[in-house]
């Protein structure tokens, strides 16, 4: 009888998650749990983009607890014919057999969550500084050089073109765009790319200033820009409609992101749909953020995260941000020369569209040289145009590599 009790206890222990750590690749799960704890420390204590990093970290934790059954990466493997038919995911099967995070992950897989987050971002964005100074669009475009530099770098490191495209889009410095592109081009890299993207966005105040100082002279940094003109309500209403029509007609692959961004902005500027605008930027965005962050984190299992690819992603992400900053600042210098000193090159770095962090960095670096220089609103122009620019770049990558 004692033997039976002992056998039962051994059986329970053998089936437990702890035992699974010692079977095969199970140790990787243990390492991922430690990584998840590290990311939670960064999110909570150091406050690195906590709104996304904390759900990502906890999703990582949940998915790497063996036997918990919340997420099954094998469901989303295209070679698994139980769930895939002719290259398409059989959503019904996932709903029947999937765990909690499998079902919530469908929103990422089907490209639903990122556009909804863009809806909320559009509701929170004021495009006034951009409309009043349309030249800022060009600075937003120049900063997207980082995307393509990282793309080439990733190709040189031996990644396939679709993987390189997903890594490159980190340089757009917009989380939902990176997740949208990666979930379509290289879903197996979603976890590391999302972690890299949000970590680097949090590190913008550390990465950008040295590059900005190195590429500009003191005289250029001291330029005080003319006060921006007031933008009328009508302009602010027509802007999102115009941008949607122009971009979606010319580049349909960018339509989900740009369209939802502009829809959110129109809701805000029209002033007649205050209720739903408030919902879009608060409740809806928060719900989607929770689902997106947790499920993206859940895709990071040991096999996909603890390999050389992750190191390459980290290196290329850093490259993307550095070159994007340099590209924006150098284009800013070009505009400084063309406008005979009217444009401060520092606002160019805000084209790396970590809104509003990059604009604040421009403000701060400008104030180091001239404490009375308020560049923040001028930098918001390139900052928000970079969001549009990175969505356009995402459309290009999806079109050419998808």
């Amino acid at each position: 009888m004692l033997q039976e009790i002992w056998n039962t206890i051994c059986g329970i222990l053998a089936d437990s998650g702890v035992a699974a750590f010692f079977i095969g690749d199970g140790w990787k799960n243990a390492v991922m749990i430690v990584v998840a704890c590290g990311l939670m420390y960064l999110a909570i204590k150091k406050q690195y983009e906590p709104l996304l990093l904390l759900p990502i970290a906890f999703g990582m934790l949940l998915a790497n607890l063996p036997g918990a059954g919340l997420y099954h990466s094998e469901i989303f493997d295209p070679s698994n014919l139980q769930y895939w038919e002719d290259g398409h995911l059989m959503v019904g099967e996932v709903l029947k057999h999937g765990g909690l995070l499998d079902i919530l992950y469908l929103g990422v897989k089907l490209g639903i969550y990122p556009p909804l987050i863009f809806l909320g971002i559009g509701c929170m964005t004021d495009f006034g500084p951009l409309i009043s100074n349309p030249k800022s669009f060009l600075l937003g475009a120049a900063a997207q050089l980082g995307i393509f530099a990282a793309f080439i770098g990733a190709l040189a490191l031996g990644m396939t073109p679709v993987e390189a495209g997903s890594i490159g889009i980190i340089g757009g410095a917009v989380g939902p765009t990176a997740i949208f592109v990666t979930s379509k081009l290289a879903p197996h890299l979603l976890g590391p790319i999302a972690v890299a993207a949000y970590s680097y966005m949090a590190l913008v105040p550390v990465i950008q200033p040295p590059i900005m100082r190195a590429l500009t002279t003191k005289k250029e940094r001291m330029v005080r820009m003319e006060q921006t003109r007031t933008v009328t309500k009508t302009e602010k209403i027509i802007f999102p409609i115009l941008v949607t029509v122009v971009v979606a007609l010319l580049l349909p692959d960018a339509a989900p992101l740009v369209g939802m961004l502009m829809f959110g902005n129109l809701m805000r500027e029209s002033g007649v749909v205050d209720r739903i605008a408030k919902t879009a930027q608060n409740e809806l965005m928060n719900i989607v953020t929770i689902f997106l962050g947790t499920t993206v984190g859940a895709t990071t299992n040991g096999a996909s995260f603890l390999n050389l690819n992750t190191l390459k992603i980290v290196a290329m992400g850093f490259t993307a941000f550095c070159i994007g900053t340099a590209g924006g600042v150098l284009f800013g210098k070009l505009m400084y020369v063309i406008t005979k000193g009217k444009v401060n090159p520092l606002i160019g770095s805000a084209g790396v569209s970590a809104v509003p962090m990059a604009a604040r960095v421009s403000q701060k670096v400008g104030q180091e040289t001239d404490p009375g220089n308020y560049l923040l609103m001028h930098a918001m122009g390139p900052n928000v145009s970079g969001v549009i620019g990175s969505a356009v770049a995402a459309g290009v990558l999806l079109k050419m590599l998808g």
Partner: protein
């Protein structure tokens, strides 16, 4: 095998170059187009409003010296808005000196300097940069 690897490397290089060149070109062209369309539209909108509803800050206004309690100051400025602004300023000056036995004289009214920031704007800027 070496030729195959060389071919693969070649084609990856081609893909890389094609995507990069096309990507940068398309992103720039799209945004230049947007600049053009928005500038055009803004100009069209402002061309419609040709009536002088100009805001005072753009016009420098000089007022003749006056010591009047109520009447608006006579000015050489064209737009009606300027008269109203000067009237408000004169009334405020008068209210300031009320009860002190003295009288304020509005000698000239000029727009504030181009780099003047309204207090709310300053507060907003400060709030946005303070945690930084």
């Amino acid at each position: 095998m070496e030729i195959f690897q060389a071919n693969v490397a070649q084609s990856i290089l081609e893909i890389g170059t094609n995507v990069t060149a096309a990507g940068i070109l398309i992103v720039f062209s799209m945004l230049v187009l947007l600049v053009f369309v928005i500038s055009l539209f803004s100009k069209a909108m402002h061309a419609k409003k040709e009536q002088p509803v100009k805001v005072a800050p753009k016009a420098a206004v000089a007022a003749t010296p006056k010591a009047v309690a109520t009447a608006p100051v006579a000015v050489a400025a064209p737009a009606q808005d300027d008269d109203e602004i000067i009237a408000v300023i004169a009334a405020a000056v008068e209210a300031m000196y009320a009860g002190t036995g003295k009288r304020g004289v509005v000698r000239s009214v000029k727009p504030a300097s181009a780099t003047y920031h309204k207090p709310w704007a300053v507060a907003g800027i400060y709030e946005n940069t303070i945690a930084f």
